[in-house]
Amino acid sequence: MNSLLFRTMAPVIVAAMLVFSLYLLLRGHNEPGGGFVGGLIAAAAMALLGMANGVMATRRALHFDALNYAGVGVLLAALAGVLSVFYDVPFLTGLWAEVQLFGTPISVSTPMLFDLGVYLTVFGSIVSVVLALEAGGEGA
């Protein structure tokens, strides 16, 4: 995969895929999409980046060990469920709130947070595996 075209185009494609994956994540509650697909697409994007720019560069771009994203994801999903402890309702009960951001109401909810956790977990795990494989199976 050493074509110049591929290497120059790759970051653009990757960026587009990442944005698309976030879009899927955010609209997932109402339209087809959600954390799974979003995470998978984002992971595919990083896999592409790894092929184009090399594994080391991709790892640097991630800032953290890819698996840590997955850990944070599970933690986030679990904590999203735990929030309901403050409202005398069971684990994983959906909590909704309207937040005024620049004058527009945005609804924030624990299911959304949960979905973000899913996104991060899928993203982190798959990226770490793919990158490790791309690196020739020599591990993270």
Binding site: V72, L75, D88, V89, P90, F91, T93
Partner: protein
């Protein structure tokens, strides 16, 4: 916010129901994120497991007093949402699993390996524990499938930690066969949903009798296959002797303590409580499986020369005992099966731990290369003896009491004591149980004679010069020896004073056979 789907607010104490799983998951992520800090990881893992033990114990206390407790996740009443429902059996198994995990963690500190924390060992252990907690507490069958997968993948991750080449072979067999097992479970769930329209266990108690019996029979038979595979019942137990012995002793102990027991628990739950009608249909198969498992497992233990592999056959034999209890049925049979699961979790794990000590002392994994441990270490000898006798069902060790219960169930059903025609099936099961006990005793006495009494290794049938033993290092003695010792003392104490266990097992059996209290806890009757 809120849905108004449940009657009242959730009291904080209900969180006990979900905390065993939640703490496991959160602990796993924390340990994963801190995996570079090798020194503290172990301590943090221990802290989490201790917390889980405390939660489980508190929950058990509550369940024993008040009856089953449920938490309706997301406040969506079952059968629509997922509920966790803790009854005596599930909670006791969760507690025993956590105790085993704690002991294994501490034991593991004696096994030197630089990469454990970085390899995610602690995170995987906690995930495994979370999987066990989820599996025994959940009230939803699909959710059970998910926890089975958590268990499977975490176990696989642990199984490959280490550098033995045989572990790869073991992991492939373990992975493929168990994955096929969960897939069969998943297929059964698809059919079940299609037939009964629900996946909630409590809901199924009511809907199953109304559902197409042929479809339910297919589903139940698939359950038997899937859970039988998970439980390592004959003839789908080949993955167990192929894999358990290849990992480190700590990992073997963890597996022996946790994995198969969840499978047989699921069998108990589904065939006895959820679909008793299908359970009756499957009875001939169950009897055959129980008898064959009981008879063939100790033969394996007799034949095997790899110590920990031989112990694997004891694990399988125990499963046969549980199946016999289920097959004999009645309050005594179910109580005996339940209690046997619990005691096997503790005893089998302890056996592997002590086996690890034996391997350290003799520097061998094959019983033919061992010898003289009786002279070398009184502590190891006494620990192993107590455990072997317990496995063989010799009183007053822990393994005896559930056997007594199962035999009581057998005698009650056999009609030998008068008051009915003689029941050949019950007699067959009794005979199998007794033969199993005899063969287990034979295997155990041979292990003892070979490992502990014989002075030197055996080469081509000739006894060699007395073996020189390595002493346990200070670290091995403190972490390895003491943790095994504490666990064995616990087992010994429970065996000498079994009243709480026996009473608990009767309560558990009562709730399994008549799930009225369980249903009420999950909220049936209050569906809008």
């Amino acid at each position: 916010m809120g849905t108004g789907m449940t009657a009242g607010p959730t009291v904080i104490a209900d969180w006990l129901v979900v905390l065993p799983v939640l703490l496991g998951l959160i602990g796993a992520t924390v340990l994963l994120l801190s995996r570079r800090f090798d020194k503290v990881s172990g301590a943090v893992a221990v802290l989490f497991v201790v917390a889980i033990i405390a939660v489980d114990a508190a929950l058990l206390q509550r369940v024993l007093v008040d009856g089953p407790v449920a938490m309706i996740m997301g406040n969506w009443l079952p059968p629509f949402g997922i509920s966790f429902a803790a009854d005596v059996l599930g909670t006791a198994l969760a507690l025993a699993g956590a105790v085993v995990t704690l002991v294994v963690l501490v034991y593991g500190f004696a096994e030197r390996s630089a990469t454990r924390s970085a390899d995610g060992y602690f995170a995987l252990v906690l995930l495994l524990l979370a999987g066990v907690g989820g599996a025994v507490l959940t009230g939803d069958l699909f959710n059970l499938y998910v926890w089975f997968e958590v268990l499977l993948i975490a176990a696989l991750g642990l199984l490959i930690s280490g550098r033995r080449v045989a572990q790869l072979d073991a992991a492939i067999k373990y992975g493929f066969l168990n994955y096929l097992g969960t897939t069969v479970f998943l297929i059964a769930l698809g059919l079940l949903y299609g037939a009964a329209g629900t996946l909630n266990m409590a809901d199924l108690v009511a809907t199953a009798p109304r559902t197409n019996p042929a479809a339910m029979a297919v589903v139940g038979t698939l359950f038997l296959l899937a859970f039988g595979l998970k439980a390592a019942a004959f003839p789908v137990n080949s993955w167990l002797p192929a894999s358990y012995h290849t990992g480190s002793p700590a990992v073997s102990a963890l597996f022996a303590g946790l994995l198969t027991k969840v499978g047989v628990y699921a069998l108990l739950r589904t065939l006895v409580t959820v679909m008793p009608g299908v359970g009756d249909f499957l009875m001939p198969a169950l009897v055959a499986i129980a008898v064959l498992t009981l008879l063939l497992a100790p033969l394996g233990a007799i034949a095997e020369t790899n110590l920990r592999r031989a112990l694997g056959f004891f694990v399988i034999g125990g499963i046969g005992m549980v199946l016999a209890g289920i097959a004999l049925g009645g309050a005594q049979g179910i109580a005996g099966a339940s209690l046997y699961i619990l005691q096997a979790m503790l005893s089998m794990a302890a056996l592997y731990l002590v086996a690890g000590l034996i391997e350290t002392v003799t520097g061998a994994t094959d019983t033919r290369a061992m010898g003289g441990v009786y002279g070398a270490s009184s502590l190891v000898s006494m620990l192993f003896l107590v455990l072997l006798l317990g496995v063989a069902g010799v009183p007053p060790f822990l393994g005896f009491w559930p056997k007594l219960q199962v035999l009581q169930a057998g005698i009650a059903r056999s009609g030998l004591a008068g008051g009915g025609p003689v029941d050949a099936v019950a007699l067959l099961l009794i005979a199998a149980i007794l033969l199993n006990a005899f063969l287990t005793l034979l295997a155990a006495s041979r292990l003892w004679a070979h490992i502990f009494w014989r002075q030197g290794p055996l080469h081509d049938g000739v006894e060699g010069a007395p073996l020189r033993h390595q002493h346990l290092s200070r670290r091995e003695a403190w972490f390895g020896g003491m943790s095994a010792f504490v666990l064995v003392i616990l087992i010994l104490g429970l065996g000498l004073w079994p009243e709480p266990l026996l009473r608990g097992s009767l309560i558990a059996a009562g709730d399994l056979l008549d799930p009225a209290r369980y249903l009420a806890a999950v909220g049936f009757g209050g569906v809008p």
